[in-house]
Symmetry: C2
Subunit: 334 residues, 2 copies
DNA sequence: TTGTAGGCGTTATCAG
DNA sequence: CTGATAACGCCTACAA
C-alpha cells in the first residue's frame, strides 16, 4: 500500500522528461528507444495514472451519478443494474446517491454537481416540485430525469407509459370478465401516483366502465400500506379485481385477500405494477405491468453518454413501452 | 449549465487574493471585512468548490468503492443500502462496481485503485483465489473484504458466521422433529458454498445425525438451479426438511415441492439462507437464516472509515452474529 | 523527436 | 491579516 509512482518517478528512472513519459503513455509519436525505456520503467514501478490529476486537467471525471429514493426498492435496483454495464463499457464509473425521497437531499445532489465530482447526473425523483425545475435549469452538468417532467424542462427525460400499461392490465381483466376493478394507488402528489390515477380513469373510460370512487383507495407504496388500503376498500365494497400501483402494494393486497378467505384469482384477480423480482416469488405469482425499469435505466445511461459526447442537442424525451406480464394472480390457480 | 466560478473569479470580484478567498472558505482567521466581501461574491456567483482540485491537493477523494458480483442480488442490495447512510454521514460518496463474479474484473478493480479515484475499496468476492490475495497485498488503498479471507491477509475483514447460522436452523428443524434434513448447496469452490458445506456437516454431527450424502445436492445459487437440484434430490430420497444455501435456492425448492404435491411444511420443511426481502414474499413465508447482510455492509463501511481515519492499526476481523428468522415454511401453515 | 514551462483549481507556506 | 507563490500529477503548446 506504498505511495504510487508518478510520471516524474518514471521520467527519472527512464532518464527522459515527464513530457516524453506522458507522450508514450498516451501513444503519441515517440522514438522507439524512448518508448521502450518508458514502458520498462512504468512496468517495473507498477505505474497507474492518477485519475484525479487527469480529471483536473481534462475537466472530465468519467463518473456518472445516479440519485434515487432508495436503493432497496426493486425498481431502482433494476435501473442500476441496467445502467451499470452501459456506463462501464464507456469507461464511466457509477456513483450512487440514496435520497430517501427527501427533497432537500435531492436538491443538494443537484447543487453539488457544481463540485464537478461527476460528469452528469441521472435522477429519479418521486416528486417533481418547482424547486426541482429550478435546480434542473441551474445544474452545472447534464441531467437526465427518469420520470416525467413538464414540457420545456431543459433535461433529457425518460418516461414510463403508465397510461398504456394500465390500459393493458384493465383490458386483460375485462377480457377475463371482471367488471368491478378496484384500484389501490400510492400518494397522488408523487409522479407515479398521479400518472397512474389518470391512467386508471382513462382505462375505465375506454372500456365503458363507470368510475366508482368506492373502488379507489390510496395508501403509500409499501406492502403494509397496500394491505391497509385494501382492507379499507374491502370494508365498503366488493371488487372482482384489484389493480395495484406497484408490486409491494399488490403483495399487501394478496395478504389481506388471503386473510379474508378470498381466493386469488377466482374471487378477486390482482395485478401489480413494475414487474419487480418480487412478482414471480409471490403466490399465486403476480401478474404485473412491466413499465420497463431496466430499460428505463439503460436508456437513461445511453442518453447521458450521448449528451456527454455532444452537449448541443436539445432536450430529448424517451418513452419506454410497457408490457403486461400475465401470471397466476389473474389467470387462474396454478 | 454555464461554467462555474473558481476562487480566482471570486478573488477578482471581491478585490482580494485567492489566498484570502481560500481562507474565508475554509473558516481560517480573516478580517471581518474580507470575510464579508468574499462571502457576498461567492454567494452572488453561486460558487461551489471544485472537488477534483481539492482531491489533487489533498490526495483524498471522499469516495469509497464497493465491488460485488451483481447488484441484482438481494444480499448485495442489503449491503449497499446499509453502507450508504454510514458513508454519506461521513461525507463520502459511494461508487458501485458490478463484476459478475469475474475474477479478472475483480482484480482489475483492485489494480485500478492505483488511479486513486477512491480512498478505499470494499469488496465481496464470491471466490477468493491466490491472485486475489496477491492483489490485496499490492492494493494502493485500504481494502475491506466481506467474506472470509485467510489468516494474515493484510485487509480488514467482515465475515458471516454460517456455522452458527446453520446450527440454529438445524436445531430448529430437529426440535420440530425433523430427522432427514437435506441440504441444497451452491458451488463448493465459492466462499459461501464451502463455508456452508462445513457448517451443515458440523451441525449434523452436533445433533448426532448421520451424514448421508444422498441428502446433499449442489447447484448454482439461483432459483432454477435450486429447483433442479431439489428435483435430483427428491428423485433418490425423501427428506423431511430441506436446508438451502440461499433464499433463491429455497424458492426453487418450494416450486418443486409444490409441483410434486408435497406440502410445506407438513411434508417437508424448508429453510433458506440470507433472509432476503424475498423470504417474506414467498408462500408459505420462508424461514431463513439471517447472516446479517445489512449489518455486514454497515460494519464494512465503518471499518473502512476507521481505516481511513487511522491507517496504522493491524488488520481487523469482524464477525456478524447470525439469527434464525422463523416463518411459515417450517412452523406450519399459518 | 524531445524538453521546458504553463496551467487545471485548491491548499498551504512564507514573507510582508 | 494578507498576498505572492509553490505544490498536487498530468497534459500540451511551444521551442529547441
Amino acid at each position: 500500500m506504498r505511495q504510487g509512482p508518478t510520471i516524474t518517478t518514471i521520467a527519472a528512472r527512464a532518464g527522459v522528461s515527464i513530457a516524453s513519459v506522458s507522450r508514450v503513455l498516451n501513444g503519441l509519436p515517440t522514438s522507439d528507444d524512448t518508448v521502450r525505456r518508458v514502458k520498462v520503467a512504468a512496468d517495473e514501478l507498477g505505474y497507474v495514472p492518477n485519475s484525479v490529476a487527469r480529471s483536473l486537467k481534462s475537466s472530465r471525471t468519467n463518473q456518472v451519478a445516479f440519485a434515487m429514493a432508495d436503493i432497496g426498492n426493486p425498481t431502482y435496483v433494476a435501473m442500476v443494474r441496467a445502467m451499470q454495464p452501459v456506463l462501464k463499457a464507456a469507461g464511466f464509473r457509477l456513483i450512487l446517491h440514496s435520497t430517501d425521497a427527501d427533497i432537500d437531499d435531492e436538491l443538494d445532489v443537484l447543487r453539488r454537481l457544481g463540485e464537478r465530482y461527476a460528469d452528469g447526473l441521472i435522477i429519479s425523483p418521486l416528486r417533481v416540485t418547482e424547486r426541482h425545475l429550478n435546480a434542473f435549469a441551474e445544474a452545472r452538468a447534464p441531467v437526465v430525469v427518469i420520470g416525467s417532467v413538464p414540457e420545456g424542462t431543459p433535461v433529457d427525460n425518460v418516461r414510463a407509459d403508465s397510461r398504456t400499461g394500465l390500459r393493458l392490465a384493465l383490458d386483460h381483466l375485462y377480457a377475463l370478465g371482471r367488471r368491478r376493478i378496484g384500484f389501490v394507488n400510492g400518494p397522488l402528489d408523487t409522479v407515479p401516483g398521479a400518472a397512474r390515477a389518470r391512467a386508471y380513469a382513462d382505462a375505465l373510460a375506454a372500456l365503458g366502465l363507470p368510475h366508482d370512487p368506492a373502488l379507489i383507495e390510496i395508501g403509500d407504496f409499501y406492502r403494509e400500506d397496500g394491505a391497509a388500503a385494501t382492507r379499507r376498500l374491502l370494508a365498503r365494497t366488493r371488487p372482482d379485481a384489484l389493480m395495484c400501483a406497484n408490486d409491494l402494494i399488490a403483495l399487501g393486497a394478496l395478504d389481506v385477500l388471503r386473510a379474508e378467505g378470498l381466493t386469488v384469482p377466482d374471487d378477486v384477480a390482482v395485478v401489480g405494477t413494475d414487474d419487480t423480482e418480487l412478482a414471480p416469488v409471490a403466490w399465486p405469482m403476480l401478474t404485473s405491468v412491466a413499465l420497463g425499469s431496466a430499460e428505463r435505466g439503460r436508456r437513461a445511461a445511453e442518453l447521458m453518454l450521448d449528451r456527454l459526447a455532444d452537449g448541443s442537442a436539445g432536450p430529448r424525451v424517451v418513452t419506454v413501452e410497457p408490457r403486461l406480464v400475465v401470471r397466476g394472480s389473474t389467470e387462474g390457480p396454478r
